[in-house]
Symmetry: C2
Subunit: 202 residues, 2 copies
Protein backbone atom coordinates (compact mmCIF):
# COMPACT_ATOMS: atom_id res chain seq x y z
CA UNK A 1 0.00 0.00 0.00
CA UNK A 2 2.80 2.39 0.81
CA UNK A 3 5.46 2.99 -1.79
CA UNK A 4 8.39 4.85 -0.29
CA UNK A 5 11.52 5.98 -2.05
CA UNK A 6 14.25 8.53 -1.68
CA UNK A 7 14.57 9.73 -5.25
CA UNK A 8 12.69 12.31 -7.30
CA UNK A 9 12.87 15.22 -4.95
CA UNK A 10 12.09 17.78 -7.66
CA UNK A 11 8.78 18.31 -5.86
CA UNK A 12 10.83 20.28 -3.34
CA UNK A 13 12.45 22.59 -5.89
CA UNK A 14 9.55 25.01 -5.62
CA UNK A 15 10.52 25.65 -1.99
CA UNK A 16 14.27 25.82 -2.55
CA UNK A 17 14.62 29.59 -2.80
CA UNK A 18 12.63 30.14 0.39
CA UNK A 19 15.29 28.58 2.57
CA UNK A 20 18.73 30.16 2.75
CA UNK A 21 20.64 26.91 3.22
CA UNK A 22 23.66 25.51 1.49
CA UNK A 23 23.08 22.65 -0.93
CA UNK A 24 24.39 20.01 1.46
CA UNK A 25 21.94 20.93 4.18
CA UNK A 26 19.16 21.22 1.65
CA UNK A 27 19.87 17.73 0.38
CA UNK A 28 20.15 16.47 3.93
CA UNK A 29 16.75 17.91 4.85
CA UNK A 30 14.86 16.95 1.72
CA UNK A 31 16.27 13.43 2.06
CA UNK A 32 14.34 13.10 5.29
CA UNK A 33 11.14 13.06 3.27
CA UNK A 34 9.78 9.85 1.82
CA UNK A 35 7.17 9.68 -0.85
CA UNK A 36 4.07 7.54 -0.45
CA UNK A 37 0.94 7.01 -2.50
CA UNK A 38 -2.19 6.06 -0.64
CA UNK A 39 -5.85 5.50 -1.52
CA UNK A 40 -8.74 7.56 -0.15
CA UNK A 41 -9.73 6.95 3.48
CA UNK A 42 -6.22 6.03 4.55
CA UNK A 43 -5.58 6.87 8.16
CA UNK A 44 -2.31 8.75 8.58
CA UNK A 45 -2.59 9.55 12.27
CA UNK A 46 -4.90 7.71 14.64
CA UNK A 47 -6.66 9.53 17.49
CA UNK A 48 -5.15 8.29 20.73
CA UNK A 49 -1.80 7.30 19.23
CA UNK A 50 1.38 9.27 19.67
CA UNK A 51 2.17 10.37 16.14
CA UNK A 52 5.65 9.71 14.81
CA UNK A 53 5.40 11.42 11.45
CA UNK A 54 4.32 14.60 9.73
CA UNK A 55 3.22 14.88 6.11
CA UNK A 56 3.50 17.19 3.15
CA UNK A 57 0.79 16.84 0.53
CA UNK A 58 1.97 16.70 -3.07
CA UNK A 59 -1.43 15.71 -4.46
CA UNK A 60 -4.73 14.97 -2.80
CA UNK A 61 -6.63 16.11 0.21
CA UNK A 62 -6.82 15.22 3.85
CA UNK A 63 -9.01 15.96 6.84
CA UNK A 64 -8.46 15.95 10.60
CA UNK A 65 -11.43 14.84 12.67
CA UNK A 66 -12.31 13.58 16.10
CA UNK A 67 -15.04 11.54 17.65
CA UNK A 68 -17.61 13.49 19.62
CA UNK A 69 -20.31 11.41 21.28
CA UNK A 70 -20.27 8.90 18.46
CA UNK A 71 -20.31 11.42 15.62
CA UNK A 72 -17.33 12.42 13.63
CA UNK A 73 -16.50 16.07 13.68
CA UNK A 74 -14.16 17.48 11.05
CA UNK A 75 -11.71 19.96 12.42
CA UNK A 76 -9.51 20.92 9.50
CA UNK A 77 -8.88 20.32 5.79
CA UNK A 78 -5.55 20.14 3.99
CA UNK A 79 -4.74 20.38 0.30
CA UNK A 80 -1.72 20.41 -2.01
CA UNK A 81 1.46 21.86 -0.44
CA UNK A 82 -0.05 21.94 3.04
CA UNK A 83 1.84 20.26 5.83
CA UNK A 84 -0.13 18.01 8.10
CA UNK A 85 0.93 17.27 11.64
CA UNK A 86 -0.63 16.88 15.01
CA UNK A 87 1.35 19.85 16.29
CA UNK A 88 -0.09 19.74 19.78
CA UNK A 89 0.92 16.10 20.15
CA UNK A 90 4.36 16.79 18.75
CA UNK A 91 4.93 19.62 21.11
CA UNK A 92 3.48 18.07 24.24
CA UNK A 93 4.18 14.41 23.48
CA UNK A 94 0.51 13.63 24.13
CA UNK A 95 -1.56 11.17 22.16
CA UNK A 96 -3.22 12.85 19.21
CA UNK A 97 -6.69 14.22 19.86
CA UNK A 98 -7.54 13.93 16.18
CA UNK A 99 -7.51 11.34 13.46
CA UNK A 100 -5.94 12.39 10.18
CA UNK A 101 -7.30 10.68 7.09
CA UNK A 102 -7.06 11.11 3.33
CA UNK A 103 -10.22 12.11 1.50
CA UNK A 104 -8.86 11.50 -1.99
CA UNK A 105 -6.20 9.11 -3.25
CA UNK A 106 -3.10 11.11 -2.36
CA UNK A 107 0.60 11.51 -2.90
CA UNK A 108 2.31 12.43 0.35
CA UNK A 109 5.81 12.97 1.66
CA UNK A 110 6.32 11.93 5.24
CA UNK A 111 9.06 12.86 7.66
CA UNK A 112 9.81 11.30 11.06
CA UNK A 113 9.51 13.29 14.26
CA UNK A 114 13.19 12.75 15.12
CA UNK A 115 14.16 14.36 11.86
CA UNK A 116 11.83 17.28 12.37
CA UNK A 117 13.21 17.86 15.84
CA UNK A 118 16.76 17.81 14.55
CA UNK A 119 15.98 20.17 11.66
CA UNK A 120 14.17 22.62 13.93
CA UNK A 121 17.04 22.57 16.40
CA UNK A 122 19.52 23.24 13.59
CA UNK A 123 17.66 26.01 11.85
CA UNK A 124 16.92 27.70 15.18
CA UNK A 125 20.57 28.72 15.24
CA UNK A 126 20.18 30.61 11.98
CA UNK A 127 18.31 33.86 12.63
CA UNK A 128 16.66 34.12 9.22
CA UNK A 129 15.32 30.57 9.40
CA UNK A 130 14.40 30.79 13.05
CA UNK A 131 12.25 33.81 12.19
CA UNK A 132 10.60 31.87 9.41
CA UNK A 133 9.73 29.14 11.85
CA UNK A 134 8.36 31.62 14.38
CA UNK A 135 6.36 33.27 11.62
CA UNK A 136 4.91 29.93 10.65
CA UNK A 137 3.70 29.27 14.19
CA UNK A 138 2.22 32.73 14.43
CA UNK A 139 0.45 32.25 11.14
CA UNK A 140 -1.14 29.09 12.43
CA UNK A 141 -2.18 30.94 15.56
CA UNK A 142 -3.77 33.69 13.49
CA UNK A 143 -5.72 31.15 11.48
CA UNK A 144 -7.26 29.75 14.64
CA UNK A 145 -7.88 33.25 15.99
CA UNK A 146 -9.73 34.03 12.80
CA UNK A 147 -11.85 30.92 13.24
CA UNK A 148 -12.62 31.97 16.78
CA UNK A 149 -13.59 35.44 15.54
CA UNK A 150 -15.79 33.95 12.90
CA UNK A 151 -17.65 31.61 15.22
CA UNK A 152 -18.40 34.47 17.59
CA UNK A 153 -19.59 36.96 15.03
CA UNK A 154 -20.80 35.17 11.90
CA UNK A 155 -23.88 33.18 11.05
CA UNK A 156 -23.41 29.70 9.56
CA UNK A 157 -24.27 31.13 6.16
CA UNK A 158 -21.51 33.70 6.45
CA UNK A 159 -19.05 31.04 7.60
CA UNK A 160 -19.99 28.97 4.57
CA UNK A 161 -19.45 31.92 2.25
CA UNK A 162 -16.09 32.63 3.88
CA UNK A 163 -15.09 29.03 3.42
CA UNK A 164 -15.87 28.85 -0.28
CA UNK A 165 -14.07 32.13 -0.74
CA UNK A 166 -10.93 30.88 1.00
CA UNK A 167 -11.00 27.29 -0.28
CA UNK A 168 -13.18 27.23 -3.41
CA UNK A 169 -11.90 23.77 -4.29
CA UNK A 170 -13.48 22.40 -1.13
CA UNK A 171 -16.93 22.30 -2.74
CA UNK A 172 -15.77 20.04 -5.54
CA UNK A 173 -13.49 17.83 -3.55
CA UNK A 174 -14.93 17.35 -0.08
CA UNK A 175 -18.19 15.52 0.77
CA UNK A 176 -20.75 17.92 2.11
CA UNK A 177 -21.24 16.27 5.49
CA UNK A 178 -17.57 16.87 6.30
CA UNK A 179 -18.02 20.53 5.45
CA UNK A 180 -21.14 20.74 7.58
CA UNK A 181 -19.42 19.40 10.66
CA UNK A 182 -16.46 21.69 10.00
CA UNK A 183 -18.88 24.61 10.03
CA UNK A 184 -20.50 23.30 13.19
CA UNK A 185 -23.91 22.72 11.60
CA UNK A 186 -26.02 19.76 10.49
CA UNK A 187 -25.92 18.40 6.96
CA UNK A 188 -29.55 19.35 6.51
CA UNK A 189 -28.85 22.91 7.46
CA UNK A 190 -25.93 23.18 5.08
CA UNK A 191 -28.15 21.87 2.34
CA UNK A 192 -30.71 24.55 3.20
CA UNK A 193 -28.06 27.26 3.14
CA UNK A 194 -26.93 26.15 -0.31
CA UNK A 195 -30.43 26.13 -1.74
CA UNK A 196 -31.19 29.52 -0.18
CA UNK A 197 -28.10 30.97 -1.80
CA UNK A 198 -28.95 29.37 -5.11
CA UNK A 199 -32.47 30.76 -5.00
CA UNK A 200 -31.28 34.19 -3.89
CA UNK A 201 -28.91 34.45 -6.82
CA UNK A 202 -31.21 33.34 -9.63
Amino acid sequence: MTIACKINKQMFDQFRNKFPLDDDKWTDYTNCFNRMEVPAKTILIQEGDIPKKAFLIEKGCVRAWFNNAGKDVTFQFFFENNTVASIESFRKKHPSTVTVETIEPSVLWFIRKEDIDRIIAEISEIPALRDKFTDAIFERTFVYMKHHFSFIKDTPQQRYLNLIKEMPQIIQRVPQHYIASYLGISTVHLSRIKSQLARGKS
Copy 2:
Protein backbone atom coordinates in the same frame (compact mmCIF):
# COMPACT_ATOMS: atom_id res chain seq x y z
CA MET B 1 -4.90 59.63 34.69
CA THR B 2 -1.80 57.51 34.09
CA ILE B 3 0.76 57.31 36.85
CA ALA B 4 3.99 55.84 35.56
CA CYS B 5 7.13 55.11 37.53
CA LYS B 6 10.22 52.94 37.33
CA ILE B 7 10.57 51.82 40.92
CA ASN B 8 8.98 49.00 42.92
CA LYS B 9 9.68 46.10 40.62
CA GLN B 10 9.09 43.49 43.31
CA MET B 11 5.98 42.51 41.35
CA PHE B 12 8.38 40.81 38.95
CA ASP B 13 10.14 38.73 41.60
CA GLN B 14 7.60 35.97 41.21
CA PHE B 15 8.81 35.44 37.63
CA ARG B 16 12.52 35.75 38.39
CA ASN B 17 13.35 32.05 38.67
CA LYS B 18 11.61 31.22 35.40
CA PHE B 19 14.17 33.12 33.35
CA PRO B 20 17.79 31.96 33.36
CA LEU B 21 19.29 35.43 32.97
CA ASP B 22 22.04 37.21 34.84
CA ASP B 23 20.94 39.98 37.20
CA ASP B 24 22.04 42.76 34.87
CA LYS B 25 19.87 41.54 32.04
CA TRP B 26 17.01 40.92 34.44
CA THR B 27 17.21 44.47 35.70
CA ASP B 28 17.51 45.75 32.16
CA TYR B 29 14.39 43.90 31.07
CA THR B 30 12.22 44.61 34.09
CA ASN B 31 13.18 48.29 33.80
CA CYS B 32 11.39 48.35 30.47
CA PHE B 33 8.12 47.99 32.34
CA ASN B 34 6.27 51.02 33.68
CA ARG B 35 3.52 50.86 36.21
CA MET B 36 0.20 52.58 35.62
CA GLU B 37 -3.07 52.72 37.51
CA VAL B 38 -6.21 53.22 35.49
CA PRO B 39 -9.95 53.32 36.18
CA ALA B 40 -12.47 50.91 34.68
CA LYS B 41 -13.33 51.36 31.00
CA THR B 42 -9.92 52.73 30.11
CA ILE B 43 -8.99 51.98 26.53
CA LEU B 44 -5.48 50.54 26.30
CA ILE B 45 -5.45 49.71 22.60
CA GLN B 46 -7.84 51.24 20.11
CA GLU B 47 -9.21 49.22 17.19
CA GLY B 48 -7.68 50.65 14.03
CA ASP B 49 -4.57 52.06 15.69
CA ILE B 50 -1.16 50.50 15.42
CA PRO B 51 -0.43 49.50 19.01
CA LYS B 52 2.87 50.61 20.49
CA LYS B 53 2.65 48.88 23.85
CA ALA B 54 1.91 45.59 25.55
CA PHE B 55 0.65 45.18 29.10
CA LEU B 56 1.07 42.92 32.08
CA ILE B 57 -1.79 42.92 34.56
CA GLU B 58 -0.84 43.22 38.22
CA LYS B 59 -4.39 43.75 39.41
CA GLY B 60 -7.68 44.08 37.59
CA CYS B 61 -9.26 42.69 34.48
CA VAL B 62 -9.37 43.54 30.83
CA ARG B 63 -11.27 42.52 27.72
CA ALA B 64 -10.52 42.61 24.02
CA TRP B 65 -13.48 43.33 21.78
CA PHE B 66 -14.35 44.48 18.30
CA ASN B 67 -17.23 46.15 16.62
CA ASN B 68 -19.43 43.91 14.51
CA ALA B 69 -22.29 45.62 12.70
CA GLY B 70 -22.73 48.12 15.51
CA LYS B 71 -22.60 45.60 18.34
CA ASP B 72 -19.62 45.00 20.50
CA VAL B 73 -18.32 41.47 20.51
CA THR B 74 -15.96 40.37 23.26
CA PHE B 75 -13.13 38.22 22.04
CA GLN B 76 -10.99 37.55 25.09
CA PHE B 77 -10.64 38.21 28.82
CA PHE B 78 -7.46 38.83 30.78
CA PHE B 79 -6.81 38.69 34.53
CA GLU B 80 -3.95 39.05 36.99
CA ASN B 81 -0.54 38.02 35.60
CA ASN B 82 -1.83 37.75 32.05
CA THR B 83 -0.03 39.65 29.34
CA VAL B 84 -2.15 41.64 26.96
CA ALA B 85 -1.00 42.50 23.47
CA SER B 86 -2.42 42.68 20.02
CA ILE B 87 -0.01 40.00 18.87
CA GLU B 88 -1.25 39.92 15.32
CA SER B 89 -0.71 43.67 14.98
CA PHE B 90 2.72 43.41 16.56
CA ARG B 91 3.76 40.67 14.25
CA LYS B 92 2.30 42.03 11.05
CA LYS B 93 2.46 45.75 11.82
CA HIS B 94 -1.20 46.05 10.97
CA PRO B 95 -3.68 48.25 12.81
CA SER B 96 -5.28 46.38 15.67
CA THR B 97 -8.49 44.57 14.85
CA VAL B 98 -9.60 44.74 18.47
CA THR B 99 -10.04 47.33 21.16
CA VAL B 100 -8.52 46.48 24.54
CA GLU B 101 -10.24 48.00 27.55
CA THR B 102 -10.16 47.59 31.32
CA ILE B 103 -13.26 46.18 32.96
CA GLU B 104 -12.19 46.97 36.53
CA PRO B 105 -9.92 49.69 37.90
CA SER B 106 -6.55 48.11 37.19
CA VAL B 107 -2.85 48.19 37.93
CA LEU B 108 -0.87 47.50 34.78
CA TRP B 109 2.73 47.42 33.66
CA PHE B 110 3.30 48.51 30.10
CA ILE B 111 6.26 47.92 27.83
CA ARG B 112 6.98 49.54 24.49
CA LYS B 113 7.11 47.53 21.28
CA GLU B 114 10.74 48.54 20.60
CA ASP B 115 11.74 47.08 23.93
CA ILE B 116 9.82 43.87 23.31
CA ASP B 117 11.45 43.47 19.92
CA ARG B 118 14.90 43.98 21.41
CA ILE B 119 14.26 41.53 24.24
CA ILE B 120 12.90 38.87 21.91
CA ALA B 121 15.88 39.27 19.60
CA GLU B 122 18.28 38.92 22.53
CA ILE B 123 16.69 35.94 24.20
CA SER B 124 16.36 34.17 20.85
CA GLU B 125 20.11 33.64 20.98
CA ILE B 126 19.78 31.70 24.24
CA PRO B 127 18.38 28.24 23.48
CA ALA B 128 16.58 27.77 26.81
CA LEU B 129 14.81 31.11 26.53
CA ARG B 130 14.14 30.78 22.86
CA ASP B 131 12.35 27.52 23.61
CA LYS B 132 10.30 29.23 26.29
CA PHE B 133 9.23 31.82 23.79
CA THR B 134 8.34 29.20 21.20
CA ASP B 135 6.41 27.29 23.85
CA ALA B 136 4.48 30.41 24.74
CA ILE B 137 3.41 30.93 21.14
CA PHE B 138 2.40 27.30 20.83
CA GLU B 139 0.40 27.55 24.03
CA ARG B 140 -1.52 30.48 22.65
CA THR B 141 -2.14 28.53 19.46
CA PHE B 142 -3.47 25.59 21.45
CA VAL B 143 -5.84 27.86 23.35
CA TYR B 144 -7.36 29.06 20.11
CA MET B 145 -7.46 25.52 18.75
CA LYS B 146 -9.37 24.50 21.83
CA HIS B 147 -11.84 27.31 21.26
CA HIS B 148 -12.27 26.21 17.69
CA PHE B 149 -12.87 22.62 18.88
CA SER B 150 -15.37 23.81 21.40
CA PHE B 151 -17.39 25.90 18.98
CA ILE B 152 -17.64 22.98 16.57
CA LYS B 153 -18.63 20.36 19.07
CA ASP B 154 -20.23 21.96 22.14
CA THR B 155 -23.59 23.55 22.82
CA PRO B 156 -23.65 27.06 24.31
CA GLN B 157 -24.49 25.52 27.68
CA GLN B 158 -21.39 23.32 27.54
CA ARG B 159 -19.25 26.28 26.51
CA TYR B 160 -20.60 28.20 29.47
CA LEU B 161 -19.79 25.34 31.83
CA ASN B 162 -16.29 25.08 30.38
CA LEU B 163 -15.79 28.77 30.88
CA ILE B 164 -16.79 28.85 34.54
CA LYS B 165 -14.61 25.80 35.11
CA GLU B 166 -11.57 27.46 33.54
CA MET B 167 -12.16 31.00 34.80
CA PRO B 168 -14.49 30.78 37.80
CA GLN B 169 -13.74 34.39 38.73
CA ILE B 170 -15.31 35.53 35.49
CA ILE B 171 -18.82 35.19 36.91
CA GLN B 172 -18.13 37.59 39.75
CA ARG B 173 -16.05 40.07 37.88
CA VAL B 174 -17.33 40.37 34.34
CA PRO B 175 -20.74 41.74 33.31
CA GLN B 176 -22.88 39.04 31.83
CA HIS B 177 -23.41 40.63 28.45
CA TYR B 178 -19.66 40.50 27.82
CA ILE B 179 -19.68 36.82 28.68
CA ALA B 180 -22.64 36.21 26.38
CA SER B 181 -20.93 37.77 23.39
CA TYR B 182 -17.75 35.89 24.22
CA LEU B 183 -19.77 32.67 24.06
CA GLY B 184 -21.37 33.78 20.81
CA ILE B 185 -24.90 33.90 22.21
CA SER B 186 -27.44 36.57 23.20
CA THR B 187 -27.71 37.90 26.74
CA VAL B 188 -31.20 36.52 27.00
CA HIS B 189 -30.00 33.09 26.09
CA LEU B 190 -27.19 33.17 28.62
CA SER B 191 -29.71 34.18 31.24
CA ARG B 192 -31.85 31.21 30.25
CA ILE B 193 -28.90 28.84 30.46
CA LYS B 194 -28.10 30.07 33.94
CA SER B 195 -31.65 29.63 35.19
CA GLN B 196 -31.88 26.18 33.60
CA LEU B 197 -28.71 25.13 35.38
CA ALA B 198 -29.95 26.60 38.64
CA ARG B 199 -33.26 24.76 38.36
CA GLY B 200 -31.58 21.54 37.33
CA LYS B 201 -29.34 21.56 40.37
CA SER B 202 -31.89 22.39 43.06
